[in-house]
């Protein structure tokens, strides 16, 4: 734990750590963490061990690199969770898709962020951000590493990366949207 560990340095680090830990009050788990369905259609399983909560694109990048720039407009007013969904049906290739859910202050911020994301990540692709109700389909894009889908869900945006086919992308977005609605989140304005 020190550049050159000695019994004294080890003691000092542990003493400091215990002092800091003793004064730490554990906040409750962020509600957004509980929004992601753990299983989808018995095909997709959420990798809970890879579930991360964050508010900064720097943290996002250490989980799943998107860009050096803050292309999702993350800041302290936003909350985000991300984790892979793993295909457990045994035959899929690739067998993992990265899911990202961000909650902004209001739908306008969410739309602005999704526009920025599209412009930076999907240049040259037509922008179709019309999803305002559960009946609307997500926007789908065939990329180098699989299918990407995104959808604005009120003040949330949901994005899934690296899906093996458009149906997988649709299902993951749909089930997450459904979960949000069940929990009273989603399309409120």
């Amino acid at each position: 734990m020190a550049e050159r560990e000695t019994p004294a340095s080890k003691d000092a680090v542990f003493t400091l750590g215990k002092a800091i830990a003793a004064d730490t009050h554990h906040p409750p788990e962020p509600a957004l963490v509980k929004m992601l369905p753990l299983d989808i259609d018995a095909v997709w399983k959420l990798r809970v061990d890879r579930l991360s909560f964050f508010r900064s694109h720097l943290v996002l990048n250490s989980i799943y690199y998107l860009s050096h720039e803050n292309i999702l407009d993350l800041d302290l007013s936003a909350e985000a969770v991300s984790a892979p969904y793993e295909n457990v049906s045994g035959s899929a290739d690739p067998n993992r898709s990265q899911f990202l859910l961000v909650r902004y202050e209001n739908p306008e911020r969410a739309l602005q962020a999704l526009n920025r994301f599209h412009d930076a990540y999907l240049p040259g692709y037509n922008k179709i951000i019309t999803a305002e109700t559960a009946a609307d389909s997500p926007s789908l894009f065939k990329l180098e590493d699989g299918w990407l889908a995104y959808k604005q869900l009120g003040k949330h945006i949901a994005i899934v990366f690296e899906c093996r086919d458009p149906e997988s992308a649709r299902v993951i977005i749909r089930e997450n949207e459904s979960n949000l609605l069940k929990k009273g989140e989603g399309h409120e304005r």
Partner: protein, 292 residues
């Protein structure tokens, strides 16, 4: 030349178009320059000894000296350490040693070992100096880069190419997407052509994060990685870090930010090769978890 950086995204890395994106917009029309280079393979040696450093991070100087001697003779093809040094530097050169002084710094024992080895080769002690720092390279005829092997939270990898960042006089100008330009520092007039050997202290590397070293991502590699092509050495270092990350996670765990400086150092600045097929790796000693 435009100073405006393009927005690099994950897709640029998947498509392998980082170079093209950066080359077209930041580096003007210089991008194809390195493509024309197709020289002999660059030699990179990896010398390891399981007794070099123990679990409590105590270094065995005698083992270190043997590892350095083996590195020098293998890199240069000379029969002994003295001839090896004299094939790299001139006896009257002012020789600057350039260790890393922060975030997993170069071990003092390694720097001392290099210095003593130079003195044993009849280089006068007063011609050997610490050349880390903004202007210190200007007074040197030859530089020996001695970075510590590490990932870096601002540049992806922070080992060879980043080791000269203080020579720029503006280190923060070379972070994040601007880290692609780290290679230009090696082409500054008072730096260009002076680096005679790159010797990476990989005794106890760091494969993730910072700004403080996280012991979860440090391990005993017990090695020296060396060569005269800085980009080839960096490429081998990157391979080791990448493989170690995969071992830790049990699945690919890409560096963040991506280490864009390595490919750019090859293709934009012509400092060496970043293509593994053009690198000849010679490994000696301890085989455990070689990661190559």
């Amino acid at each position: 030349m435009s100073d405006k950086m393009p927005v690099l995204t994950r897709r640029d890395f998947i498509r392998g178009t980082v170079g093209a994106t950066l080359g077209a917009s930041v580096f003007g029309l210089q991008w194809p320059r390195g493509e024309a280079q197709a020289a002999a393979p660059s030699l990179v040696t990896v010398v390891r000894d399981k007794n070099a450093i123990d679990a409590a991070k105590n270094i065995d100087i005698t083992v270190l000296e043997k590892m350095l001697a083996q590195t020098l003779t293998r890199v240069t093809g000379q029969k002994n350490t003295k001839d090896a040094w004299l094939s790299l530097v001139k006896p009257n050169d002012v020789i600057g040693l350039v260790p890393t002084d922060h975030l997993n710094p170069t071990h003092d024992e390694v720097v001392d070992c290099v210095k003593n080895s130079l003195i044993d080769a009849r280089i006068h002690a007063n011609r050997i100096r610490d050349a880390q720092g903004p202007r210190n390279a200007k007074k040197c005829d030859a530089l020996i880069a001695i970075p510590g092997l590490k990932a870096h939270w601002l540049t992806g990898i922070g080992t060879v190419l980043k080791n000269y960042i203080m020579y720029s006089g503006s280190p923060s100008s070379y972070h994040k997407s601007n880290s692609a330009k780290l290679g230009e520092i090696w082409n500054l007039p008072f730096v260009k052509g002076k680096t005679k050997l790159v010797l990476v202290d990989s005794l106890y590397p760091l494969c993730d994060k910072g700004p403080q070293p996280d012991p979860r991502y440090q391990w005993n590699y017990n090695g020296f990685i060396a060569g005269t092509d800085p980009v080839a050495v960096e490429t081998v270092c990157l391979k080791i870090i990448t493989e170690k990350r995969k071992v830790i996670r049990g699945e690919p765990w890409p560096l963040s930010p991506p280490p864009i400086c390595v490919e750019a150092a090859d293709k934009v600045y012509g400092l060496g090769t970043s293509r593994m097929e053009q690198i000849q790796i010679q490994h000696y000693g301890w085989e455990h978890e070689l990661l190559l």
